[in-house]
Amino acid sequence: MKDYQIYVSVWAALLVLTLVTWQVSYIDLGLANAAVALVIASFKASLVALFFMHLRQESRLVWGFAVFPLVILSLIIFGTLSDTLFR
């Protein structure tokens, strides 16, 4: 596949996912509402990082710096949940 074809398909995927987010928001999933929205959003962000920001072709060092903040993000989520879920 040529370069521009990849970019166009990723762009199309992002648009589709945006539509999905919008439509899903009309369905009440209870607690899962936020989870579903966040999963879709994370998937979109990954597409942007991998393709538009060229993370796919980057060295392991750059991958390390891209993934490390996600580890830190998970810390703040789990640390805070260890409080709020058990109060």
Partner: protein, 538 residues
């Protein structure tokens, strides 16, 4: 220029050659930017110190004497915010770090010189915004806890926006340093040949880049609550006030390692130089810097034990807190082992470095008291916490900065500091510091609460002793600054390597020329080759 020539003809001007304010305001030279950071941060150190002295003045008597309670609240907020955000966080990393990192790794500048200058001016913009907040001075303490900070009439939004800008500057500086350390090391300088100061600056930069955005976002959320009434932290609107504390400490705990790690790096350079011995346990010190940076992200909850957090979280955070003691202990033991059988000379940088170790041990060991759940219930929000914090941050970081300033003064200015006033100031500072803050451990254990303008009479003796100590401490600091200013203009010309150090910055003239190295050096070994046992690469 050879050393003899430099000694005869007075100091070359090096990077200080060019004159006029434009040559500073538009400079891309990491050394000049570092010096500008040092001047700015030291100014706020003195200003914050004035607020500290005013606090001590008011606390001489149990009742209100000099200031109203409201003014007192504003003063301790200014003392805390200035010292933390405008002095101690940017002080060593942006000041000494900017000056030293390229010199120590054999580079001509940082990776992004323009970004570096932008960071400095962003820092200044932040300061200006913070000064605007003085129109309605803050009274929340430097911690901005909700729900009070969401409701007070003080200019919380303005001040937090200023700190947001200062934080941006901090992130960009950290990013700059990470890339510099990865990309610009001289040929032959492998990771295990880097000076330990560089290791600690690397760990510091990682925290700056990863943790600072969290405080920025937290302040945005706080502003949204204050300006638009969005219920994020206010329980009446379905918010959670503890959430603010989680976010705040998720940044503010790791950031104490942004403060202390560079100081530890400076100490790791000074101890071997003045012991004439290779550093003991190079790898252990280097990796413990990284370990401290990572462990620092796991322990923020220990600031919230009595805030109503779940018992489950209390226990987890308490256990994790003790893990930080391990890499910290590794460093302290290695410094002491470096001293063992060394040929120690007690010049002023070494005096401050040894003071760092001593005071930091006291500050560090009082940490576990606060990290233990049972004792923390008794000690939370007492002067014990204030004493612990000042022993680690002033006794630790600030002594490390003073050690570094005395050690690198010849490199910064091309002139030597006068040793006699330097040592006199040191003696006064050590005495004043301990009188002030050791007493606070005792008044704190007795139950004296922090942040109160008034207190029961039984605490007066302790408070008076602390205030007398603070006056002695302030006098010592003035003597030290007098010495800096005098020697900046009148000090004896410094040779390239006055302390016989082995790191690369000592191979260039003092002060270093613009672009540092005529030819980029090739590194063939580690920077602690003082001969004897344990010498050679790590």
């Amino acid at each position: 220029m050879s050393e003899e020539k430099a000694a005869q003809s007075g100091p070359g001007r090096g990077y200080l050659e060019e004159k006029g304010w434009r040559s500073w305001a538009y400079t891309l030279d990491h050394k000049r930017i570092g010096v500008m950071y040092l001047f700015t941060t030291l100014f706020f150190f003195l200003l914050g110190g004035v607020f500290g002295m005013l606090i001590r003045l008011e606390l001489l008597t149990p009742g209100p004497t000099f200031f109203s309670d409201q003014t007192y609240n504003e003063m301790f907020t200014m003392h805390g915010s200035m010292m933390i955000f405008l002095f101690i966080i940017p002080g060593i990393p942006s000041g000494l770090g900017n000056f030293l990192i390229p010199l120590m790794i054999g580079a001509r500048d940082v990776a992004f010189p323009r970004l570096n200058l932008a960071s400095y001016w962003l820092f200044i913009m932040g300061i200006i915004v913070i000064l605007f907040s003085l129109a309605h001075p803050m009274d929340t303490g430097w911690t901005f806890y909700t729900p009070y900070s969401a409701k007070t009439a003080a200019s919380v939004t303005v001040l937090s926006f200023g700190i947001f800008l200062v934080g941006m500057s901090s992130i960009l500086t950290g990013l700059n340093f990470i890339v510099t350390i990865h990309q610009l090391r001289a040929t032959g300088m492998s990771w295990l040949r880097m000076p330990l100061f560089i290791w600690s600056m690397y760990a510091t930069s990682i925290i700056q880049v990863v943790a600072t955005p969290v405080i920025g976002m937290t302040f945005i959320l706080l502003a949204m609550e204050r300006l638009f009434g969005i219920g994020l932290f206010d329980p009446d609107k379905g918010g959670d006030p503890l959430l603010f504390q989680h976010f705040f400490w998720f940044y503010s705990h790791p950031v104490v390692y942004v403060m202390i790690l560079p100081a530890m790096g400076a100490i790791s350079e000074i101890i071997p130089t003045f012991s004439r011995k290779p550093i003991f346990g190079y790898k252990a010190i280097a990796y413990s810097s990284i370990a401290i940076a990572l462990a620092g992200f796991l322990v923020w909850g220990h600031h919230m034990f009595v805030a109503g957090m779940s018992v489950y979280a209390d226990v987890i955070f308490s256990i994790l807190t003790f893990s930080v003691a391990i890499p910290t202990g590794v460093k302290v033991f290695n410094w002491i082992a470096t001293l063992y059988k060394g040929s120690i000379s007690l010049d002023s940088p070494m005096l401050y470095a040894l003071t760092f170790i001593f005071l930091f041990i006291v500050g560090g060991l009082t940490g576990p008291f606060l990290g233990s759940l049972a004792t923390d219930v008794h000690l939370t929000d007492t002067y014990f916490v204030v004493a612990h914090f000042h022993y680690t941050m002033m006794g630790g970081t600030v002594m490390g900065l003073f050690a570094g300033l005395h050690y690198w003064f010849p490199k910064l200015t091309g002139r030597m500091l006068d040793e006699r006033p330097a040592k006199t100031a040191w003696a006064i500072i050590v005495v004043g510091f301990n009188i002030t803050f050791f007493t606070m451990f005792i008044t704190g254990m007795q139950g004296m609460p922090r942040r109160f303008a008034e207190y029961p009479e039984k605490y007066q003796a302790g408070n008076v002793i602390s205030s007398i100590g603070a006056a002695i401490l302030a006098f010592g600091i003035l003597v030290m600054f007098y010495n800096y200013v005098r020697c900046m203009f009148r000090g004896a010309p410094a040779p390239a390597d006055p302390w016989r150090g082995k790191t690369l910055e000592w191979t260039v003239p003092s002060p270093p020329p613009t672009e540092n190295f005529e030819t980029i050096p090739t590194v063939t070994g580690w920077p602690y080759s003082y001969g004897g046992k344990g010498d050679g690469d790590a």
